[in-house]
């Protein structure tokens, strides 16, 4: 168990709902779920969720902390917002799923090697570096995340698409040497660092 995780267990003991309400983005909405299941039926990746959102909500109320936070399910969210607009109680389900996944990731107990977890981290690190996304490096980091050999294999498989994009001037091979970035990168990084510090403090994750 990571430090943050064991501290959270000690602090909230058996009250997982309270932990979610205080630490997960939009977590205070969880108790409003009335278990109708419209979210499950509305999800484009619904078939791939071991626990649908309404199940996760009930599991939170039942205190099934480990099952929820180590679940692969909320990583299936494509951010399509179908559940949000259809929920009769108007729960911001997409955000709660993001919040649960992000919290589990922050505690270090989200499933290891989960592809969306890995890609999400690559994406954020990519944009945080220069303030804007470097699409070439983003793609390459994803291909090569499991090492050189599998990276070359994936990249070769996608070669015709990549070349097509370069030819259509929608991918720039020169981005490898830098690419688009902010003038006030120092300020941007200062904002990020400060925001992280405030949020961690508020959530007791320092």
């Amino acid at each position: 168990m990571s430090d943050h995780n064991s501290q959270a267990v000690a602090r909230y003991r058996n009250n997982f709902l309270k932990e979610v309400e205080e630490r997960v983005e939009e977590g205070e909405w969880v108790k409003m779920c009335m278990q109708c299941g419209v979210c499950a039926g509305s999800c484009p990746f619904g078939a791939h969720w071991q626990h649908s959102p309404q199940k996760l909500f009930m599991m939170i109320r039942a205190g099934k902390r480990e099952e929820v936070l180590t679940s692969d399910s909320m990583w299936m969210c494509t951010s399509c917002y179908n559940c949000v607009v259809r929920c009769p109680r108007q729960l911001p389900i997409t955000h709660i799923m993001h919040g649960l996944a992000s919290y589990a990731h922050r505690l270090g107990i989200a499933p290891k090697g989960q592809p969306t977890r890995e890609f999400a981290k690559i994406f954020w690190d990519n944009l945080a570096k220069k303030g804007r996304v470097n699409e070439l490096k983003l793609t390459l980091s994803l291909y090569f995340k499991d090492g050189l050999v599998s990276g070359i294999k994936t990249a070769m498989g996608m070669q015709s698409i990549g070349l097509g994009m370069v030819k259509a001037k929608r991918l720039n091979p020169m981005e490898i040497f830098g690419g688009h970035g902010l003038k006030d990168l120092k300020g941007f990084h200062a904002i990020l660092a400060k925001a992280r510090e405030i949020e961690d403090k508020r959530k007791g994750l320092t």
């Binding site: 983005e25 484009p44 990746f45 791939h48 494509t78 951010s79 399509c80 917002y81 179908n82 949000v84 607009v85 997409t94 993001h98 919040g99 996944a101 990731h105 922050r106 592809p115 969306t116 977890r117 890609f119 999400a120 981290k121 994406f123 954020w124 690190d125 944009l127 945080a128 804007r132 996304v133 699409e135 793609t139 994803l142 015709s160 698409i161 097509g164 994009m165 259509a168 001037k169 929608r170 991918l171 720039n172 981005e175 688009h180 902010l182 003038k183 006030d184 120092k186 300020g187 941007f188 200062a190 904002i191 990020l192 660092a193 400060k194 925001a195 992280r196 405030i198 949020e199 508020r202």
Partner: protein, 299 residues
């Protein structure tokens, strides 16, 4: 002086030689015809997109969006922020709504912004380019500068997710928004009826991390367009455009389909109808060429 002015938030994918650079090309051409002046928010940053949630957390994402707002308020006072990318629009608008609703978040965000000498006053309005077209111009106004009709071309209006949910455009329904169809009709084209994958998710960012699951979505979207007699797909979202166009060859390879369906932006259709060249409309940026539109540009 231009008729209308906006603080422009193009987003990462619309930059030079990025995956939606042809979107930007066509938006610029379209706005020139409509006498719209777009001034880029100086030194704007990425919105974090939806997929930024896992590593980014809540406040850092809101704070970087607020950085753009503060820059717009300072350098382009009084102008609405206009985004062309669905994710940029959503990320920005969501951040603004959260800030409006919570004085705590507002205080914390401004504390973070102060680290770069910035301050957000909560004066901005966040809009999507499609809202500008429909609300500030309206279909009749958009028809006026037309030089060519898109007559005889059948389009499947693929709205997708984030230009539709959760905010919607012009108060239209989430299940069956009509604005793309109306826009196609305005330009003389033929919107296909009952296109049942109109608001289906293409997988979004998970096209990268869960390619097989996403390609099933994309297959449905393209297949249904064929089934309903469409010759092209038109969309307002750069990620929808890229996913639905780029992966057709992969799906063909893996599943033996023969997809070859062009996927266009509404702004490309408008540029062609306004008499723009192939280059003005960014048609040279298609991986799957939109030949019928290319022919119209040469008429």
């Amino acid at each position: 002086m231009a008729k209308k002015e906006y603080a422009f938030y193009p987003g990462c994918s619309s930059q030079l030689k990025a995956s939606a650079s042809n979107y930007l090309t066509s938006v610029s051409s379209m706005c020139k015809t409509l006498d719209v002046k777009l001034t880029e928010i100086p030194d704007w940053n990425c919105c974090g997109a939806s997929i930024g949630y896992a590593e980014g957390g809540e406040l850092p994402r809101i704070a970087i969006n607020a950085r753009n707002f503060a820059l717009a308020e300072t350098h382009l006072p009084g102008q609405d922020i206009v985004a062309t990318c669905a994710a940029c629009w959503l990320g920005a608008r969501e951040s603004k709504d959260r800030l409006d609703a919570s004085s705590t978040l507002m205080k914390e965000t401004n504390e973070a912004l102060a680290a770069a000498g910035l301050h957000y006053k909560a004066e901005v309005k966040i809009r999507h380019m499609v809202e500008v077209l429909i609300e500030d111009f309206g279909y009749d106004e958009l028809k006026k500068p037309m030089k060519k009709s898109l007559e005889g071309v059948k389009f499947a209006g693929y709205v997708g997710c984030q230009t539709n949910r959760p905010f919607g455009i012009d108060g239209e329904s989430f299940e069956n928004p009509k604005y793309l169809d109306k826009l196609v009709e305005t330009l003389g084209g033929e919107p296909v009826e009952h296109y049942d994958q109109k608001v289906t998710c293409c997988g979004g960012a998970l096209a990268f991390s869960e390619p097989e699951k996403s390609q099933k979505q994309i297959r449905d979207i393209v297949e249904s367009a064929y089934d309903h007699g469409a010759e092209m797909i038109v969309t307002p979202c750069p990620l929808c455009q890229a996913n639905v166009e780029v992966y057709q060859s992969e799906i063909n390879k893996k599943q033996g389909t023969q997809f070859n369906m062009p996927v266009l932006y509404y702004s490309q259709l408008m540029t062609v109808a306004y008499g723009g060249s192939m280059k003005d409309a960014g048609l040279d940026g298609q991986l799957i060429r939109a030949e019928k539109l290319e022919v119209i540009t040469k008429k």
